[in-house]
Amino acid sequence: MNKIWTIVSIASIAILMYIDPDNVLAHMNNAAAGTVSLMIRLLPLYAVWMGMMGIAERSGLTEKLARLLKPFIKFLFGEVDEKTSRYLSVNMSANILGIGSAATPAGISAITCMDRGGEVATDAMIMLTVINSVGIQLIPPTTIISLRQAFGSAAPFDIIIPTLVATVIPFIFAVMAVKILQAKVKR
């Protein structure tokens, strides 16, 4: 992460200093401003879903969900403690339903629960990151469908099946790859 960031930044700034030196700082400031507006847009979503999570937690529903998903959690993440498995099951369910803004806080809570202060990511942390990066949404991507509609598509729904296939098969590939690498690294 540090390496990629440094290399891309150095190369980009060097080119920009040659072609457009006046705007180097403006670009950086704009990006930071974009981050602020993204956070302002995400904060209410997080507040709503984390609030609902608070209720679900208190009512014991997340615990029930975790018990229901226990076989999957155990297969994917190995032995995790009870609290972690609750967050993991919320993260997975939210992902499948396509509620990114509910999946993210649950995923972060799961990572925080698994964290023992080390500098190296554990197997379970890696599995969680990979699963979330690959995307396991089973509900059609509504943002994209409505974007296509806005641009005058005659059949905005025809991407649903390709998207689903391109989600599920790479997901299985990624999980298997992580499992194989875990076994290899162990000994």
Partner: protein
């Protein structure tokens, strides 16, 4: 057609009714949960800012265009149209930037063109790897992600190849 608009409200309604029956203090539980949202955003902000600044420079310098042109023959070999190279390069960094690129593709080639449909499937079936990694580990001291990013990138590339292949049949 739109059943999915009912799913989330129904889920929330069911949660509230269940909690009411179980006599849970819903109001305070909600507030307690939502309280952490502000801290989450504060934790995550510097990491996202760092990524966004990098992506912005990457695009503004023309480096992303240049790199996607350089990579186009490789992608072409895998069945990915060269018009989508930049989208695939930006996708792991930022969801917004990739949606902006996707809109541009819709505008240039038409929303029902092969390229546009491939692009839609690619964006729909992948996620922002660097963004997610940064956000998930923001609250920890973890610095070494081992094979997490290579595996995720490879899986997303595989997903892009698959998407371009399958879109032909629909």
């Amino acid at each position: 057609m739109n059943i999915e608009v009912y799913i989330l409200p129904a889920l929330i309604l069911a949660l509230l009714i269940y909690s009411f029956i179980k006599k849970i203090p819903t109001y305070t539980s909600f507030a307690e949960g939502a309280k952490a949202a502000l801290k989450l955003c504060a934790d995550v902000f510097p990491y996202i800012a760092a990524i966004f600044i990098c992506v912005q420079l990457f695009k503004a310098s023309g480096l992303s265009k240049w790199l996607s042109e350089a990579l186009a023959p490789v992608f072409n070999l895998m069945g990915i149209p060269p018009e989508l190279c930049e989208l695939i390069l930006i996708r792991p960094f930022s969801g917004n930037a990739s949606l902006a690129l996707l809109s541009e593709i819709y505008k240039t080639y038409g929303a029902d063109s092969y390229v546009a449909r491939c692009g839609s499937a690619i964006v729909g079936s992948s996620d922002t790897i660097f963004y997610i990694t940064a956000v998930y580990f923001a609250g920890t001291k973890v610095k070494k992600f081992r094979y997490a990013i290579p595996v995720a990138l490879l899986a997303n590339l595989f997903s892009a190849i698959l998407a371009c292949l399958i879109v032909r049949f629909f």
